[in-house]
Each structure stands twice: as structure tokens, then as C-alpha cells.
Symmetry: C2
Subunit: 465 residues, 2 copies
């Protein structure tokens, strides 16, 4: 084994700077996983940090010749385990390919390397008077390569869509090191069969994105918003339905269940008066935002809200949305209160919007049945929920209970006509669930696509399929 | 051959009503082509009109057992020849599968069979207070199955996107008659590799859509608009750029070159005072439409418009947009004036928005060089142009000149960083051009996808690839 690694390092060094090829235990350990719990993680043999497309090609050519698995990795913020190392693999971390290649305001596009963070792209767009909307919670750190690999979403999606909607053009390195371009520089393109969308959300199993051109939009104005507190999930669900039925297009529509509200309320938030409320935070960045927010506030009241706070300026709206942003901190506090070894695990499930309230109720029932603490937040306008399970990872009983709760939530989502993942991906965590959602024939063809692009099966093996 | 056809008819009759299996010369001739000129057309052996998914499956099972090519067909409005029969094939016309299965206002979706026309879907959505935006010019007749097969667009796309953006879920019958479902009922879904987008725009080469669930949107209010007349394409192009740069999101942004303007002007239109102007028609359906239209009118004037007419109410806006809608009639008149056997042929090419004015100028140069009459209209906001060539199809010289002009326009589009088709598809017409646009490796994988889904090569053979 050792000789193999030495010989692999030697071959990699023919194309990469030796300092970008790491075999030390610290680097290997740092790059062994992403941010998903529960998933099997192996010890990578080598971690490489390519700095150019040619270097990515060299790594893949070398790996395919030596039949070594390669796990592509970005900021390691993934929540489904697609970035977790397999035993003896080469982890290819793309953070060093982080140049913004072009911002074209007249065509409203930007061309970037995969290691550019979502924040950096947003800032570059903003400097040109434009916006790149997709905003996964980890946008400060996560990379565009990872966003494309997972098909990432965020708070904005209810109005502005997901990562897949923004990719115009893409260059990938395939398993054998060859380079392939897809897409076009035009707004519309229907020339041939659309292979590009295969790669978006394929979690590094089909190829490695080395360059992407994304669409940008006009910069929206600051949003106004409201925070509504409801005595029940059903009344909050009714408000979501009423807002949609009235034809509103909010720029954010976030929900916090009573447990999440309680946790944030313990930290203290000036507007969260009822710690047991289900909260809905709705924003509008439309030119008519004042009247939109007033109308949506009225709909919340009609749906049974016990209290509605309207942000009459963007600072107040910011403060209201902050209740949602405080959730991670509140959960860390919650975890600490459970045990020093407690962790929080964020789930991702989506159902048709009309089944949202029922899913929240089912998650509450799961929490009670399994005896685990679960707070649910989510993108209500998309029917996309993130139940967050907090449990002591060192306690075998709690670990089992958390896993059982996770399984129950997946089942409930599918039973309610939903999907096992709206925006985080399948990774290693949901592989077994995929067969419960998709048509067996479709699954067989997904595997056929994988074989077509990676006949040796060296690209992120064991992920997704 | 005759025996084969008889035996094929017998087998088809095991699953279809005999009256839905037609071999008469009239039916065969009526269903031999779509609306594309220049393409090779064969005489189909049989035309079938299945009425259910099971019948589509029966046709495909029969065809694959007997190794007979099948050409799926809708309203025959296609402009690239994907619906043209090949010699001895079975044409499967899906117009009889035309039920609207469900409209779900709370989830903003509709489920339809493939033979539903775009107009019928729009009306069903509208009856539920919602909109299905995609609006190809043929929307009165063209079917959703055809829209999905071609990845159809329209006037609305500049603000509301294309057909591919609206498909949530799809069931297809594959070449061997098996049934496969893809997608989900949720707004977001990243479970597994996205095979559904392969089928959108694949022009019937991978499978036959038998059911689709599409997203609907809130019904926009009536648009206001303006008609600006420019002394040159470059000043019209500057106006497009200025409107985009100012962050406007028009709901339509249509362009007519001087030749198209002249043709409409001959029919008579109250607002077209200068028959040699390049015209830009811009609409807004935003809540701020009054001020948007005023601001965009000012930008047109600053860019050098010789005259700007603002539609101060929706009736006037309608009248202005009518200038664009009069183009087909004006072209029929133009064709008649050339010869009783003259036809008009609508092209489809798209470039990055910044190259739009240059492409229009190049098309004018092509018209002069080749000695053919070409009027250009297009979706300016998307950089998507439709040059329309009017020529006498019976005159060999004009036929050759028209084909040469077509080739020149494709070349110019590609040279300007564009695509050979923004929304009409490749069909048979642009097959040879596809290799000039896409990466050879991508083309090889497109063929791999085709082989994977249709190893016998019986589904719409010779189209696209």
C-alpha cells in the first residue's frame, strides 16, 4: 500500500507542485469529511489542491491510470456526505481554483472557477450592480463548485430559483481527465440534448466542474418584512396558503416551528413574545413592497396569527429575519445544554406546499415518539423543511433514536408526496432512501449515466447511487 | 413490404381501435411533415392516434419488436423538422391524448396529457387565477408535448423563462414501451441525477411524453408598452443595452428590423410612421409599469429613437404589440408579391445580447449578398432572432440562395458566440450545424445517451444527432 501511495504521489508531482500534494495525517484528517453526520468516512491516502484545469486533468488522468478513487471537495460545508473521503482515496480539494474570471454586466453573467465562494460571487456581482441570488445558509464559505454539485438553494429560492436555474455554461473534467464544455453564452439554447443539467446536483459523481458561467440579475432593493406568530402550525400553514393564493411573490418566506421559536426566544429576541409560537417571516423586495407586506400581514392575521410585527424599514426587517438567523446559535446553546458531546444535525425534506403544516405536525410526533429534540425551520414558500435534530453523538441510545427519527422524517416526507432532498443532496446519507423515491427504471438509467461518464467508477464512488 | 405493413397493422390493432390506425394516402400525406421547409420527408407507412398511455406503450412495444421507426408528432407546428416522417415509419400523433388532468391552484401546478394545446393549458390556468407563461407564436395550436420536445420559448421568456423552467414532473414511454417517471411534485428536488432535463428539448429521440406536471405562476396584470422607431439597428441595440443596464425587467422586448417594419407598414399600422425604421416594442406588467414604461421610453429616446409611442393603457399597448403580430400576415403578402409559389421560412438563432445589433447587420449583409428577401424579428431581450427568408420554393436558384443565406446566418450566429437554436430545436434542419457548435466530446455523449434510452434507434431516427 505504502509503495502505491509513493508511486501515486510521484506521478501526481509530474503535474502539481509538491506542496499541493499532501499526505500528512493532519491534512488527511482535516479533509476526510464534509459537514454531514452519520456517514461512513474513510482515511484519504492523499489530499491534492490543484490550481488549474490542466492540474485537475492531470490528477484525473493519473487516478484513472492507477485506478484510484477521487473525491472532489470544496468548502466541506455539504450536509449529505458527498464530500466525505473513502478509504485510500485521493481527495481533490478545489479551493485553490478560486478566480473570478469575468463579470459581464451587459450580458448579466459571471464566469468563475469552482473554488470561488458564494459570497465572493455575490460581492463581485454586486460591485457590477447585479445580484447572484442563490443563498445557501453557508454562503460565506461554500463554493460555487459545491453549489453546482449539490444543486444548492437557500432563502431566496421562493422568488429567485435555485442554482440549477443560474448555470448557463460549464466546463468539466471527466473521470479519464478529458475536458468537456456544455451550455452556451446565450440566454436560451436548445441545441442538442441537455447534458449540463445531469452534472448539476450530481455531487461529483460524473465530473469535476472547473469553470462555470452563471446568470446574474438586477440587484433588488432592500426588502421589507414581517414576523407573524401563530398558535398552531395549521394556522401558520393557512397563512402560507393564503399568501400564495392571493398571488404574492415574497422574496423570503421562512418558517420556525414552536421548538425553534422557543430556542431562539431563550437567547432573547425583542419581537418573539410568545416562545411557543410557530413563526412565519415573510419579506418582499418588490417595488410595491410596502403594500405587499401590509397585505400579507393582514392575511396572517386572518389566518389566526396571535401577533404580527411589520418591519416598516429595512433595518427592522433585518431584525425580524434575524430571528431565523439566530437558529444555529440557539441550537449550539441547546446542544451544550444537552451534553458537551451533543451535535445538531440538519435535515432536508420537501413536500407540496399544501402538505407543509402536516409534515411539521408529523415531525413533532416523531420527536415525541423517538424521544429526541427536533426543531424545524424551513423555506415555507417552497414546501422545503429543515428539521434539526439535536442529540448526544456519544450516547448510543440517542444516536439510534436520532437515526430512527431521521428515517421517520424521510418516510413522512415521501408519504406526503415529497422528496428526500430539496437542496442538500443525497450524498452518502440518503442513498438508501433514493430507491424509495425514484422510479426503479429511472434509478437504473441514473446508474447508466454514471457508467457512461465514469466506466471505472473512480469519481466519488459510493455517493448518490 | 405490404405484408409487413399488414402484419404491423394487425399487431397495432391488438391494442388500438382500428379507426385510430390509418394507412390511407390522405392521412399519411397530412402527417408526413411539420412546418419546417428544406427537410427530407419520407412517406409514413402508418399513422396512429393513441388515446392513452397504455396505447402509446403498445405502439412502442410493437414497433420495437418489429424494429420499425416511430416518429412522435403533435400539432405539426415544429420549425426544425423533428416531426417529419421518415420513409416507412409509424407516425405516432398524440393529439388525441388531450386531457387536462388536474389544475392545483394551492400548489400552482397543472398536470396535462401531451396533446393539450398551449392555449388550452393557458386557459385552464387562467380559469384558476394563474398563468402558464411560455408562449410560442403557434400557441393556439402547438401542444405541450411538442413544447417539451423542442424546449419551446416565446415572447414572455425575457421575464418568465422557457418551457424547461416550468416542467416539474414527467412520465415518458421509452423505445421498448416501458414507462418511466421523473421529477417530483415539489418546488425543489435534487434527489439523484436529473434525467428529466435530458428529455426536454430532445425532440422525441429519447422517449414520448405521456404526462407532464408544469408549474404555474400568479396571473400578471395587463401590460403597458411602448413602440420605439430607430434610424439604425445599432441605436436600437443601444436602447436594448440601456434598458437592461438600468435594471429593468420588461415582460416583452421584441425587435423588428427595417425590412419587417417596411412589410408591416405596407399593410398599414397607425403607429409605424417610418417604414424604414428598426422597431423595438417593450412591455412591462410590473406593479410599477407606468413609471417603467416611461423610464424605458426615455432610454429609447436617449439611444437615438426618432419616435417613441407610449401605450398609456392596455388597449394602446395591445395596438403597439400588434405591429409585431402583423408580421406573419405581412410576410404572406410579401410572398404573394414575389410568386404564388413563394414560401416564408423562419430561422432561429441566438447570440449574447451585446452582439444582437451586429447579428442584425450581418443578416442584412447576407440578404444583399445572397439576393434573398430577409426580414428579421426577434426576442431582443434574450438575444434571440428570427430572420424570415421569403423565397420562391419552385425556383431552383432562389431555393439555393435561401439555403445559402440560411447557412450564412448560422455561421454568423456561431461566430458571434451564439447558438444555432434558441427555441425551435435542431430537428433535421440543423443536424449538420450541431457539430459546429457543441464540443465533440459532448456530442459523443449525447449519442451515448440516445443509445442508452433507445438502443435499437427506432425513436425518431435521424433527428437532432
Amino acid at each position: 500500500m505504502l509503495t502505491d501511495i509513493d508511486s501515486l504521489v510521484d506521478r501526481l508531482a509530474e503535474g502539481l507542485d509538491p506542496s499541493d500534494i499532501r499526505t500528512d495525517a493532519d491534512t488527511r484528517s482535516e479533509h476526510a469529511r464534509d459537514s454531514a453526520p452519520f456517514c461512513e468516512v474513510g482515511d484519504p491516502a492523499i489530499v491534492v489542491f490543484p490550481r488549474s484545469t490542466a492540474q485537475v486533468q492531470h490528477v484525473m488522468r493519473t487516478a484513472s491510470r492507477m485506478n484510484v478513487p477521487v473525491v472532489p471537495q470544496g468548502a466541506q460545508t455539504g450536509l449529505a456526505g458527498a464530500g466525505a473521503a473513502s478509504e485510500g482515496c485521493v481527495v481533490m480539494n478545489l479551493r485553490e481554483m478560486n478566480r473570478i474570471l469575468a463579470v459581464d454586466p451587459a450580458n448579466r453573467t459571471a464566469a468563475v472557477e469552482p473554488g470561488v465562494t458564494t459570497r465572493e460571487l455575490k460581492e463581485a456581482a454586486s460591485a457590477a450592480g447585479l445580484a447572484y441570488p442563490p443563498d445557501p445558509v453557508s454562503f460565506n464559505d461554500c463554493t460555487i463548485g459545491g453549489n453546482i454539485a449539490t444543486g444548492a438553494g437557500g432563502v431566496c429560492c421562493v422568488k429567485y430559483g435555485v442554482t440549477a436555474d443560474y448555470v448557463r455554461k460549464m466546463t468539466v473534467v471527466l473521470a479519464d481527465g478529458s475536458l468537456m464544455s456544455m451550455g452556451a453564452d446565450t440566454v436560451k439554447n436548445v441545441a442538442g440534448i441537455n447534458l449540463m443539467q445531469l452534472f448539476i446536483g450530481s455531487e461529483g459523481t460524473l465530473g469535476i466542474v472547473v469553470e462555470a458561467t452563471v446568470a446574474l440579475r438586477p440587484l433588488p432593493t432592500d426588502a421589507l418584512g414581517l414576523l407573524a406568530q401563530f398558535p398552531s402550525t395549521s394556522s401558520a400553514g393557512a397563512a402560507v396558503a393564503a399568501i400564495v393564493a392571493a398571488g404574492h411573490t415574497p422574496s423570503a418566506m421562512e418558517l420556525m416551528d414552536a421548538t425553534a421559536t422557543g430556542a431562539v426566544s431563550e437567547l432573547g429576541h425583542p419581537d418573539l413574545v410568545d416562545a411557543s409560537a410557530t413563526c412565519l417571516i415573510v419579506e418582499s423586495d418588490a417595488p410595491t413592497k410596502e403594500e405587499d407586506v401590509r397585505a400579507m400581514a393582514a392575511l396572517c392575521e386572518e389566518s389566526g396569527a396571535s401577533r404580527v410585527t411589520v418591519g416598516s424599514d429595512s433595518d427592522t426587517a433585518e431584525r425580524l429575519l434575524n430571528a431565523r438567523r439566530m437558529v444555529p446559535l440557539a441550537l449550539r446553546e441547546k446542544a451544550m445544554s444537552i451534553s458537551p458531546t451533543a451535535v445538531s444535525f440538519i435535515e432536508d425534506v420537501a413536500v407540496p406546499r399544501t402538505n407543509l403544516a402536516q409534515l411539521i405536525d408529523e415531525i413533532e410526533a416523531v420527536s415525541e415518539r423517538r424521544g429526541v429534540w427536533i426543531a424545524t425551520i424551513g423555506h415555507a414558500g417552497d414546501g422545503n423543511l429543515h428539521p434539526i435534530v439535536v442529540f448526544d453523538a456519544e450516547d448510543p441510545g440517542q444516536n439510534r433514536a436520532a437515526q430512527a427519527a431521521y428515517d421517520d422524517i424521510m418516510s413522512a416526507g415521501l408519504r406526503l408526496g415529497g422528496t428526500i432532498t430539496g437542496e442538500h443532496g443525497v450524498g452518502t446519507l440518503k442513498k438508501e432512501w433514493l430507491a424509495d423515491q425514484v422510479d426503479p427504471l429511472e434509478l437504473a438509467f441514473m446508474k447508466g449515466v454514471k457508467r457512461m461518464f465514469d466506466p471505472q467508477g473512480i469519481l466519488n464512488p459510493g455517493k448518490v447511487l
